[in-house]
Every structure is written in structure tokens, then in C-alpha cells.
């Protein structure tokens, strides 16, 4: 279990995995009660008095997780859901107000250097070697290309225990343990757009005047805009994830012109807004998250998560530890993180249409039919239910965008914090005010 380096080659992964399974089994058997989840409950008694405070957006701050933690691990996890703006603020300015931060990787790029968090020792993370390699080496498969933007692995490790400097390669010190991630694309109302949608540039098609929308979080919205401009052939970017001032200007010029022409109905900022815009018919084409599409569809309204020729814009979030954590609380936090990767949460998140960090363990908690539908892009063998037991998709349905490899393998860029961040935000404000 003292492995530190990532395993990028398949064969090594498999063999080590087998080995790990063996160790876990032995450890489990030795301690007894923890065998089901594979966790030794060394701290069994006093850990129950621990309370950990976690905050993040509502996307992953699920009450069901806190309940399950209480059940499996015995300690209390207090969840506070915030909007995405407040998340970054709280992480940096109120570091004592939380124990565990659930933040996105691009926010991590801003938060971690502020010295308010501590990296995690990967030798204490049991499933570290099974974490999807996107978060370790940046490559989904050994030969995949690393996408532009703030790719998670670039801010995934720091140089040492007390360092706040991001490491260029994998080290023993990980900043965030990935929780959920996904590839975003355009969501459409197939009943209202009236034609096939194949490219990001369709967002600015005058046919959808007054019925389009994009995300109004600068670090994310700019990437949507870049995907659109590149697709239109208007701009050729050196690196979308790290634009020059001229590229920012040009991109936002195109968007501003579209805005002035009345292309956009609204810009959305929270998950819920995107759902309401789409469900109410205010907007018929917009950049959207997969579960938001599912939420619209759950209301009986047709909505499609539309794969596009240029690929996806991806995002990911993870759990980080507050600097002040130590002793028993720190142990509890590690135990929580190990539990998080042990499968139950992974399955829960996968069932909502997100992806989880360790796929193998999640698979163990999903039915073969669920796994085939959500992860392999196969037609549903039976009705697919959401975590609350409501039917989401009827038998025979196929997931938009296909399998995990199809989606995450075609990521064109990640949400990004650029070197010209300060300039970009000013320009974005201009765009909004235009």
C-alpha cells in the first residue's frame, strides 16, 4: 500500500489492483466489522464524536451522502450547500469555517495557493491507484491527448506536504480527491429547434434568436464561447485554456455582437436556472450539464444532451482538506475520503449522470444493467432509476453521448483559470453590461 507513483500502464494497474484487493480482504477480515466496506474501524469509539463540516455547491453536497457516512463510519458530516460564487469565497476567506472543501478544479487553482488547505498523503488513500487517470496523468488512456484549459492533473498535486506550488508531475501530495466530473455540451429541446444540431456554432444560429443561453460564470462561460468561436472558424486559438488578450477580445467581441443582436434569452448561473429555462421553453439551446438535461426530461419535457463535432467542455470537482485539520479529525477526514472512493457514492453519482473518480468500486455498487446504460452507452436492459428510485429512462433508451470513453475521451477543453484571468473577468463584465 505504500505506492506513490501513478500507474499509467494497463497491465501494471491490473496486477496491482489484484494485489490490493487481496490486502484489503486480509485487513478487512482481521478487523472484522469493517469488512463490508473494507475499512478498519480503528478509531471506532471516539471517532463517532467527530463532526466534519463540508461545503460546496448543491451538485455534490448531497444529504444522502451525509446520512450514509453516519451509517457506515459513525461520525457526523454537516453539509452546507452554497452557490458557486460563494464556494470560492468561503474557501479562501473563511478557511476555519469548514473542514472539507468540495470545490472545482479551476477554483482549486485559485484557492490552493492561498495556503488555506493541506494536501493529502496519497499513501493513505487506499484506492489511489484506481482513480481515473485523467486526474493523475491527465490522460484517459495512455495515448489520449491532454485537453486544453485547467486540466485537473495540472492542479492535482503539490510539491510537498507544506507546499502550495502545483507540481508538474504526480507526487505523494494530492490537492483534491476527485468526486464528480463530467463533459458538458449543448442541451437542446428537440421539439423546438427543428433541425439537427452538430456543432458548437449552432448556438449562435440566428434561427434561435432570443432562445439561446450560455453559462454566466466567467471561467466557464469563456470556454463555451471559445468552443463556439472556434467552431465558427472565426478564431484559431493557440491555447483556448490560456488565451492571449487579443484572443479574449476577439472571442468576447463575437459574443457581444450576438448579444446585441438579441441572440440570448438569458445567461444562467445555477444548475436550477438552466433547468427552469429549458423546461419553461424560454431557451431551446444552451450549454448544459448532463444531469440538468435529465432533470428536464424527468418533467416529461423532451431534452437532448447533444454531442458535437468539436468535442466537450469538461469540468471536475474534488474534496480538499482544510489546513487546520489535525489529529482525530484528520484521520476521520481520511477515512471519509477512503469511504468516498469505495463505491457507494460513486454509484450514487453515476446514477445521476455524473462520473465518479474510481470506476471499479462504483461498478460493484451498480447493477449490470445500470453499468451498461450509464457507463458503456448500451441500451437500457431495464427501466433506469435515479437514486431516489424514480424511473428516469425507460428500458431500451440509450444515453446521449454514449459511453464513458466516448464522452470523456472527447474532451476538448476544461474550465479554466488563465494567466490573463484578471483581464478576462473585466472583459466578461463588459460583455454582460453590453
Amino acid at each position: 500500500m505504500k505506492t506513490t507513483g501513478p500507474t499509467t500502464t494497463k497491465t501494471a494497474g491490473v496486477s496491482r489492483r489484484t494485489l490490493l484487493k487481496g490486502t484489503a480482504a486480509v485487513a478487512g477480515a482481521a478487523v472484522g466489522s469493517g469488512a463490508i466496506t473494507g475499512f478498519p474501524t480503528i478509531w471506532a469509539q471516539n471517532i463517532k464524536n467527530v463532526t466534519l463540516r463540508q461545503f460546496g455547491t448543491g451538485v455534490s453536497n448531497l444529504n444522502a451522502v451525509a446520512e450514509k457516512v453516519k451509517e457506515d463510519l459513525g461520525f457526523t458530516l454537516q453539509m452546507t450547500a452554497l452557490d458557486s460564487d460563494a464556494v470560492a469565497q468561503r474557501a479562501v476567506t473563511q478557511p476555519k469555517s469548514y473542514d472539507i472543501a468540495d470545490i472545482e478544479y479551476w477554483i482549486c487553482k485559485k484557492v490552493f495557493p492561498a495556503g488555506v488547505m493541506q494536501p493529502m498523503d496519497v499513501s493513505k488513500i487506499k484506492n489511489f491507484n484506481k482513480i481515473v487517470p485523467i486526474f493523475v496523468s491527465g490522460k484517459l488512456t495512455p495515448d489520449s491527448k491532454i485537453a486544453q484549459g485547467t486540466a485537473p492533473h495540472t492542479v492535482g498535486f503539490v510539491e510537498g506536504k507544506d507546499s502550495t506550488k502545483f507540481a508538474k508531475e504526480t507526487t505523494q501530495w494530492m490537492t483534491l480527491i476527485p468526486t464528480i466530473y463530467n463533459a458538458d455540451t449543448l442541451g437542446i429541446r428537440p421539439d423546438l429547434v427543428g433541425r439537427p444540431i452538430a456543432n458548437w456554432k449552432d448556438l449562435l444560429d440566428p434561427a434561435f434568436k432570443g432562445k439561446a443561453s450560455i453559462l454566466n460564470i466567467p471561467s466557464i462561460g469563456i470556454m463555451d464561447a471559445a468552443m463556439v468561436c472556434e467552431s465558427m472558424g472565426e478564431i484559431k486559438y493557440g491555447d483556448k485554456g490560456n488565451m492571449t488578450k487579443e484572443e479574449i477580445d476577439k472571442t468576447l467581441k463575437i459574443m457581444t455582437d450576438a448579444k446585441k443582436a438579441g441572440q440570448f434569452r438569458a445567461f444562467w448561473k445555477t444548475f436550477d436556472e438552466s433547468v427552469n429555462l429549458m423546461a419553461s421553453g424560454e431557451v431551446i439551446i444552451q450549454s448544459m450539464w448532463s444531469p440538468a438535461v435529465a432533470a428536464v426530461r424527468a418533467k416529461g419535457i423532451p431534452c437532448v444532451y447533444q454531442p458535437l463535432a468539436e468535442g466537450y467542455r469538461a469540468w471536475g470537482g474534488g474534496l480538499g482538506l482544510a489546513k487546520h485539520l489535525s489529529g482525530l479529525e484528520l484521520e476521520a477526514a481520511y477515512e471519509y475520503i477512503n469511504w468516498y472512493l469505495s463505491g457507494w457514492v460513486g454509484a450514487y453519482l453515476n446514477r445521476q449522470g455524473y462520473y465518479s473518480a474510481v470506476l471499479d468500486t462504483a461498478k460493484e455498487h451498480m447493477s449490470p444493467a445500470e453499468w451498461a446504460f450509464w457507463m458503456e452507452g448500451k441500451p437500457a436492459a431495464e427501466d433506469i432509476k435515479n437514486p431516489d428510485g424514480k424511473v428516469m429512462e425507460k428500458a431500451g433508451a440509450v444515453r446521449d453521448g454514449g459511453s464513458f470513453a466516448d464522452r470523456m475521451g472527447r474532451v476538448a477543453c476544461w474550465n479554466a483559470v488563465m494567466d490573463e484571468d484578471r483581464y478576462m473577468v473585466r472583459k466578461w463584465n463588459e460583455f454582460i453590461a453590453a
Binding site: 448543491g58 451538485v59 450547500a81 452557490d83 460563494a86 476567506t93 473563511q94 436550477d272 427552469n276 416529461g300
Partner: protein
């Protein structure tokens, strides 16, 4: 006031205008009311997807994200604390401002400033201050302070309005009859201005209970209700929010109905006992 003349045409025109105004105020409430009866698969917008009481029941169940119970308790508690402090502090200050004292003008302008400084600025400032000082913000410390900068000016202004038209003869009469200052306040002044104090209390509670911007950067680890609801919109929200709105409205009607009934009852008893208390307002 009681001239007993017949109502002019303008009365009906104005009454109609007032009716429209009330209708306008209740526009969103009506929408909320209708949509809170959405079917179990319905969303926050039209079309209706069936009709049910599902979301009222759901209000008392665990939500996917967020915690109504905890945040509601915090908001109510905070509202009451703000209310109490606002009433006591503005009453005391109201007494002081009846006489000139050195610094009264500066303090008065500071209070007015407190009213006009934009909420988001107060929030940012308090957040920054706690951050620089290294103190952990909390809803019962920093957020409480942020709310007070909003409710105290209201309280004080109402006190000004009250004391500007307060007849000092009542106090002098009490003093001539040998009452101590405390007795004068307790048995003469406070009963007369009681309705205004209730007004301040209501104002204080309402302003605090619904305050968003000022709490945003000052709440600390745990959310108040408005923040919690806003946080909940980062995941799929359901018509349970509307159910909450409908329940709040119905509950408010009941409370206010009872309060008005109570006031009427007291008024009737007072008039029977021939007291003139309450007429000063």
C-alpha cells in the same frame, strides 16, 4: 378625520388603484400558490404536471440538498435576536435623541449612513474585517452585526417619528405625581408607544428574516434560510420551494389575523376602561 361626509368618486378610483397594487404585490404569491400544487413530477415552471399535495408533504422530508429545518431555525432565531436588540437599542437611543447632546449629529448621520450603505458593501466589509482580524464569522456574530446595521436605522427613524409627536405632558404629569423616571418610562411612555415598538419589532424581524446580501459573506459555516434556498438552486430544485412559500404566506395570514384580533380586543377593553393610552400614535 371623522367628518362623516359621503365618499367622493375619487375614493372608488383610488380604492381600485390600491386593489391593483395589492394584486401586483400578490402576483408572484399567486404563481407560487398555484405551482406549489404541482404533481410529483412537476417543475418550478408551467406547464403544470398534474395536481397534488406532494410538495407540502415533501417540505417535511429530507431534501436531496440543503436543510430546511436547520436553516429555518437559524433564520428564526437570528430574526428574534435582531428583533430584540433592535427594539431595545433604538428605544434607548430614541430617548437620548430627545435632547441635544454632544455628538448627536455625528451619530445621527452615521445611522443614516448605515441605512444607505449598499448591503453588498456591508457584507463585503464585515467579511473582510473578520478575515483580516482572523475571527471566524458566524451567523450569530458577524451576520447578526450585518443585520443590525440594517434594522437599527429603521428602528431609530421610527422612534424619531414617535417622539416628534409625543406629548411630553404625559411624562410631566407622571413626574408631578411623584413617579421616578423609571416608573414614568415603564408605566407611561412605553404603554403609549407600544404599537410603534411592535412596529419596530415586526420591521426588525422581517428585514432580518429575508436578508440575503448582508448575510452572503458573513454567515460563516452555516446558512440562513435565504442562503440555503439560494444554495439549493445549485442542484435540481423542486416545487417544494413554492410549498414553503405558500405555507409561509398562509402562516403569516394566520399570525397577522390573530395579532389584529388581539389588538382590536385590547383596544375595546381599553376604551371600556376609559384609558387614553395608544391615542398618542
Amino acid at each position: 378625520m371623522k367628518t362623516g361626509e359621503r365618499r367622493p368618486v375619487s375614493f372608488y378610483l383610488l380604492a381600485a388603484f390600491f386593489g391593483l397594487f395589492v394584486l401586483f404585490l400578490y402576483g408572484p404569491i399567486v404563481t407560487i400558490g398555484i405551482l406549489s400544487f404541482q404533481g410529483p413530477n412537476g417543475g418550478l415552471t408551467f406547464p403544470m404536471n398534474g395536481v397534488s399535495l406532494h410538495w407540502f408533504g415533501n417540505l417535511f422530508e429530507r431534501q436531496a440538498v440543503g436543510d430546511f429545518g436547520g436553516s429555518f431555525t437559524r433564520s428564526i432565531l437570528l430574526g428574534f435576536i435582531v428583533m430584540g436588540i433592535t427594539v431595545v437599542v433604538s428605544l434607548a437611543a430614541g430617548f437620548a435623541f430627545r435632547r441635544p447632546f454632544p455628538g448627536s449629529k455625528a451619530l445621527f448621520y452615521l445611522t443614516v449612513a448605515s441605512l444607505i450603505v449598499p448591503s453588498v458593501l456591508v457584507s463585503l466589509g464585515i467579511g473582510l474585517m473578520f478575515n483580516i482580524a482572523g475571527i471566524e464569522p458566524n451567523w450569530y456574530s458577524s451576520a447578526l452585526g450585518a443585520h443590525l446595521t440594517w434594522t437599527l436605522p429603521f428602528g431609530l427613524l421610527i422612534m424619531f417619528a414617535v417622539f416628534n409627536r409625543f406629548n411630553r405632558a404625559f411624562e410631566e404629569a407622571a413626574r408631578d405625581l411623584g413617579a421616578t423616571p423609571w416608573q414614568t418610562v415603564r408605566h407611561v411612555v412605553v404603554p403609549i408607544i407600544l404599537p410603534s415598538l411592535i412596529g419596530i419589532a415586526l420591521f426588525g424581524f422581517t428585514l432580518s428574516y429575508d436578508e440575503f446580501a448582508r448575510t452572503l459573506m458573513t454567515a460563516g459555516s452555516f446558512n440562513t434560510l435565504p442562503l440555503e434556498i439560494y444554495g439549493m438552486t445549485t442542484n435540481v430544485t423542486t416545487p417544494v420551494l413554492y410549498a414553503l412559500g405558500t405555507v409561509t404566506t398562509v402562516f403569516s395570514f394566520v399570525v397577522i389575523g390573530l395579532a389584529v384580533g388581539g389588538v382590536l380586543l385590547i383596544g375595546r377593553r381599553r376604551s371600556r376602561h376609559g384609558s387614553d393610552a395608544g391615542k398618542g400614535v
